[in-house]
């Protein structure tokens, strides 16, 4: 799986269905077809721009690693294994592993000095006046964390792989590459923790064999989902939300609602508590009923044209 897919483990680590999807390495194309979700994909123009920028930036890498990492290199050298020593390398199609999962990045660029190897990542979203979309940078940082962790698993001396990466972005509105150092140590630590849990989790037997169509959906649906604010970026989103809508789950309205309602998972039950139409089953429900009843009273007062003075 590519680093982006594995980095997805950090998107919704609390959802068992999502974990099963990744642990079973389900083909996302087959999944989209099975649940009838709209085709995703990249615009041809975005692809062209990526290609052009990657080409331009690669040519400028020696200069950039010199400026930001103090590494002297005249060009990026092709390699087929983890390089040693000082220099700048491109490793195409490395077959790495992370825990039990295969990690197959298209290519990994590495800059090395005598003590460390630094991953270099080229992305085509803009860096405007030194400022890039923090959500995109966070996404890149998670993917880089996968690469760092997988390289460490492959390296004889794991500490040689630095968590400080060089991120190369186009500057402002043009295509001139600009480099920034990005330390992904926090993401690497989070990833390690998630992977430990993933291995321990275990996979439903049915998902151990490749499935497609209805069988795939049924098998996945047997695993509990946890609906929440992060769901729209998940491949199962369109399926899970319909399920949440059908059952009237509080979480369909977001994490804030789910946290407030605690054990009361169904919106209609929560409202019944708020309106005094349902007897709280215990102290916890009583507390929720109290809080929602206060909100209901305030809403009633305001809708009734309440005056503020």
């Amino acid at each position: 799986m590519d680093p982006r897919r594995i980095a997805g483990l950090l998107d919704a680590p609390g959802c068992r269905r999502r974990q099963a999807l990744d642990a079973a390495q389900v083909d996302l194309g087959l999944l989209a077809e099975a649940i009838g979700s709209p085709p995703g994909g990249q615009s041809p123009y975005a692809r062209e721009r990526d290609g052009t920028f990657t080409h331009l930036a690669t040519a400028r890498l020696p200069e950039l690693v010199g400026t930001h990492l103090g590494i002297e290199a005249t060009e990026a050298v092709e390699t087929a294994e983890l390089p040693v020593g000082a220099g700048l390398w491109v490793w195409r199609g490395p077959r790495l592993r992370l825990g039990g999962l295969p990690v197959t990045p298209e290519r990994v660029v590495l800059a090395g000095d005598d003590t460390s190897l630094y991953p270099v990542e080229i992305r085509s979203y803009a860096c405007l006046d030194g400022h890039a979309d923090p959500a995109k940078v966070a996404g890149t940082a998670r993917e880089l964390a996968v690469v760092v962790a997988a390289l460490r698993q492959a390296a004889p001396v794991p500490e040689r792989i630095s968590s400080r990466c060089l991120l190369v972005l186009p500057r402002n509105f043009g295509l001139a590459p600009v480099g920034t150092l990005l330390d992904v140590a926090p993401q690497v630590r989070r990833l390690a923790w998630s992977l430990d849990r993933l291995d321990a989790g275990g996979l439903p037997a049915r998902l151990r064999t490749p499935l497609a169509g209805e069988a795939l959906v049924t098998a996945l649906t047997e695993v509990d989902a946890r609906f929440g604010d992060g769901c729209p970026s998940c491949p199962m989103y369109t399926h899970c939300r319909v399920e949440a809508e059908r059952t009237g789950t509080v979480a369909r309205a977001g994490g804030a609602a789910a946290n407030l309602c605690g054990p009361v998972g169904i919106a209609a039950h929560a409202l019944a508590l708020a309106h005094g139409e349902r007897a709280p089953s215990g102290e916890a429900e009583q507390a929720i009923a109290d809080e929602l009843a206060r909100a209901a009273a305030a809403y009633g007062w305001a809708v009734g044209g309440g005056s503020t003075a």
Partner: protein, 537 residues
């Protein structure tokens, strides 16, 4: 918070949005300028198509047959720049307005534009794009394009200021006034929002929202599949045969939805009566527009890349002041907003059951002063500590004690002299005690330049070498931010130790003065012209 959850649950169970406001809290111009468009994937400086204008039924349509060709791009954007200039030229009439200067005590008369322009776009991403387009246009040599860039830069800079209505998004207009039962992140989709508020007859919000998702996106990023299947052939045809009809048709077709939806959002909010403070906040926008025009005329418009140094601190102060003021004004204007504070317990509703207007205390100077007491019976227990401040209109009070159903309050302002005792609520009056009082005006006390502890002791690193990128020529001028000629206000210890104690000024027609017109600094992203509207409005 809990009211927000309650409303979301109501919406979810009814499969229809519920009102979150009963007043319009954004100013809506009788003649806004709307803009919806697409740019080439990943390239905000390369517009493909933009629908814009003030007329719902006859929008202008800009298309660029070869978006990556700079000459074609400039020609198309030149048309938009001229149309924008025409629209803005309607807002040049001024009128004399009385405003407070200095510490807010002296009055002065100044000329202010009677109205200001307003740009409305479908969503946040388009608002962000407007800022980027402005930044890009300012980097060009063409005077018409650069002038449009300066205007868009001013417009975009207002976006970050709570309470400003110069640049509105349809999604914000709707989420400010309605609550849906979907994920808050899904509220960023204009079509989905409208589906929740007005689902077509016969469908519930869930189905209507899913249908809306199947429509072309509101931009500025286009549907990748459309790029491949429709846009690419249309652009190729335009390029190879000089025939732009197909491109224009395709663009008109995909932008019709966002155009219609943006107008629909405006229509919905127009049905609400405006909140009382909306005009006051719009006046702040008018002042800002007036200053911006003056700077344009004087040729002194400048933009800094990102605010740093003293302007960054001033910006934070302005953001904090405006955030607090906007919350307060919306709550005072609208019971549905005040209800949020009732639900959290920060505000209290109840009935006055007892009064002691003659109660006195001895102040620090040893003098006996009038501090009437009130007892209010509440429906829910008040759980804030003694010492909490509450207000009933202009009457300020502090909580002395609270039991399960009664709050004892001491009046500390607004009705602490004999002639004003009549302003106290009578026994049996139903009251809502709010956590805000009269307008709070935080005078700024920032130094003109950063003191040494917050200034780097190391020489600034050499700027990145200029790279061979001819587009990369953004103007970065000095950030000589204006400083208001403020005389020192009465100092005070802030309880939190950070902000000075607010001083009440009459919430009437005066606005704190704006500083000299020249040299103010705006920035394309995340920054504002400083000093335009310090604190109070």
């Amino acid at each position: 918070m809990s009211l927000d959850v309650y409303q979301r649950l109501l919406a979810l169970s009814q499969a229809r949005a519920v009102p979150a406001a009963s007043r319009a809290h954004r100013h809506l111009s009788p003649r806004p300028w709307l803009l919806a468009g697409y740019h080439l994937a990943g390239e905000p400086s390369a517009p493909v198509a933009i629908r814009y204008g003030s007329f719902r039924d006859s929008p202008k349509l800009l298309t660029v047959a070869e978006p990556r060709d700079r000459a074609q791009r400039f020609a198309a954007l030149g048309g938009l720049a001229r149309d924008l200039a025409t629209y803005l030229s309607r807002y040049t009439v001024t009128e004399p307005v009385v405003r407070a200067t200095g510490s807010g005590r002296e009055l002065d008369v100044d000329l202010c534009c009677v109205d200001a322009p307003q740009l409305i776009v479908p969503n946040e991403a388009t608002a962000h794009w407007v800022g980027l387009l402005g930044q890009y246009l300012r980097s060009l040599d063409d005077p018409v394009l650069a002038a449009a860039g300066a205007h868009l830069g001013w417009i975009a800079s207002r976006r970050n200021l709570p309470g400003s209505s110069v640049l509105l998004t349809a999604t914000d207009l709707l989420t400010a006034h309605w609550r849906t039962g979907q994920l808050p992140t899904e509220d960023g989709h204009l079509g989905r929002l409208l589906a929740w508020i007005e689902p077509p007859a016969g469908t519930d919000a869930w189905q209507a929202a899913r249908d809306a998702e199947a429509m072309p996106p509101a931009g500025p990023a286009s549907d990748p599949a459309w790029d491949a299947v429709v846009l690419r052939p249309a652009l190729e045809r335009a390029k190879e045969q000089g025939d732009v009809r197909r491109l224009k048709l395709a663009a008109a077709e995909v932008l019709a939805g966002p155009w219609r939806d943006t107008w629909a959002a405006i229509d919905l909010v127009r049905m609400l009566p405006p909140g009382e403070h909306v005009a006051k906040r719009w006046e702040s926008d008018r002042w800002s527009w007036t200053r911006h025009r003056e700077r344009v005329l004087a040729g002194t418009v400048s933009f800094s890349a990102r605010l740093s140094d003293v302007p960054a601190y001033r910006f934070l102060h302005e953001l904090e002041t405006r955030t607090a003021a906007l919350e307060r004004q919306m709550a005072l204007d609208d019971p549905l907003v005040m209800a949020r504070y009732l639900a959290t317990g920060e505000a209290v509703a109840g009935v006055v059951i007892k009064r002691d207007p003659e109660h006195t205390v001895v102040n620090a100077g040893g003098r006996s002063v009038l501090r009437p007491l009130l007892w209010v019976r509440t429906s829910a227990a008040f759980d804030r500590p003694a010492g909490t401040d509450l207000w009933w209109g202009k009457v300020g009070m502090v909580v002395r004690a609270a039991t399960d159903d009664t709050v004892e309050l001491m009046v500390t302002s607004g009705a602490v002299t004999r002639p004003k005792l009549g302003l106290l609520p009578d026994t049996d009056t139903e009251v809502v005690l709010a956590p805000f009082g009269p307008l709070q005006y935080f005078p700024d006390n920032l130094p003109d330049e950063l003191p040494w502890p917050t200034r780097s002791s190391r020489p600034k690193p050499a700027p990145e070498p200029e790279l061979d990128d001819d587009l990369d020529t953004d103007v970065v001028l000095g950030t000589t931010a204006t400083t208001a000629a403020t005389t020192a206000p009465p100092p005070a210890d802030g309880a939190a130790g950070r902000v000075p104690e607010p001083r009440a000024v009459p919430d009437s027609t005066v606005t704190p003065a704006s500083p000299a017109a020249s040299g103010s600094t705006t920035a394309p992203s995340g920054a504002v012209p400083s000093g335009d509207s310090r604190g109070g409005w």
